[in-house]
Symmetry: C2
Subunit: 189 residues, 2 copies
DNA sequence: ACTGTTAATTAACCACCGGTCAGTATAAGG
DNA sequence: CCTTATACTGACCGGTGGTTAATTAACAGT
């Protein structure tokens, strides 16, 4: 009968995000429920709604970090010391690696649609794509067609979408990923 | 107060499948509920469970037809009168067209994973892919790498997965589809 | 110390979902 | 006329996301 807990054990946004992030690594978006988070935190699920408007808002905070990670990887790769050809190859492989090593997150970032996902996430996805496009163009010797870059992106997306769930981590699809990257490189030339 | 309706309006599997199919065209798998089907049929949702073991079994009956449609399209295209190059192009375009004109169904067929979908559907998807692979190989002048055919499939899959939900029908992505098909053809040569 | 205010939380509620099951009215068969 | 298999209902289970009135801990002012 204590509708408010003492300050020492008050719920913070960070605690909630942390727990959600933790569960989000092992289950997908739909399997992580506000109730499962609350249960693990030892509070009622309603309490979370005091700190976050809804499930989408909570998960956007988490997914922001993953968009940042992906964008950061692109930047790092482009600014690396390898030759452009190698870098391009790394961008493709890295994208697939990211997708298959963060499957639940990738699904949320690039596969779920407007009815289940926050609009901010959609925007972030567009931005991330643009970064990808710029990276690919900057690593190419010739001027590429926008449509070809787009096609390359969708080809990578298809790879992740296909192996997702069928494979536990990128490692299991590593060889296929190399071949797929070569396939895309071939198409771009 | 009539727990049993007169024989004239008895519920049949076909009636259920028909209603489910109808709703499945406008909503996706998760949005079509056993209850929404029952409501439209004027029966209790429990009644459906007399005719079908569960939701997956009901929806597999529907999805079977769509797999057949896709397979039939591949056969027809391969056995057509055009030259191989044109046919191959048609196969790619047709796959994308199918995916974007039957988005909910495509999602069920090729995107949902084992926890939500019947095992039979997975098998059908594999079979459909094999048919695709054989078609592509048979339409190619040179011997293709298995991995390249796989890559082509994933590239197409990525196209559909990407435009799904963002576009209402194939028409809106027609030009992009042509360009994407060309992209894939380029990679195969 | 007393008071008022605000922030945080609970618990009960809503409307859904897939799925189960005991019970029952009906149609058909003996 | 009685029995039995069938076809169905409706209540129920445990789950989901989301809302809200009531309650109280913590804090600021006097």
């Amino acid at each position: 009968m204590s509708p408010r807990k003492p300050a020492s054990q008050e719920l913070t946004q960070e605690m909630i995000v942390e727990e959600a992030r933790k569960q989000f690594i092992e289950k997908d978006f739909h399997q992580v429920s506000m109730r499962s988070i609350a249960k693990e935190l030892g509070c009622s699920h309603g309490a979370i709604y005091y700190h976050f408007k809804n499930k989408a808002e909570l998960f956007y905070v988490i997914i922001e970090g993953y968009f940042a990670e992906l964008n950061h990887f692109l930047d790092e790769t482009v600014n690396g010391t390898d030759d452009n050809q190698t870098k391009l190859y790394h961008v493709f492989l890295g994208f697939m690696e990211f997708g298959l090593n963060h499957q639940s997150q990738y699904e949320y970032m690039f596969m779920l649609r407007s009815n289940e996902v926050d609009g901010l996430s959609q925007e972030a996805a567009n931005l991330s794509y643009e970064k990808f496009a710029q990276s690919v163009q900057s690593l190419s010797d010739d001027q590429l067609l926008i449509s070809d870059i787009y096609s390359a992106f969708m080809a990578l997306h298809g790879f992740v979408a296909h192996y997702r769930g069928y494979v536990v981590s990128f490692d299991e699809a590593k060889e296929a990923a190399h071949l797929h990257a070569e396939f895309i490189v071939k198409a771009l030339k």
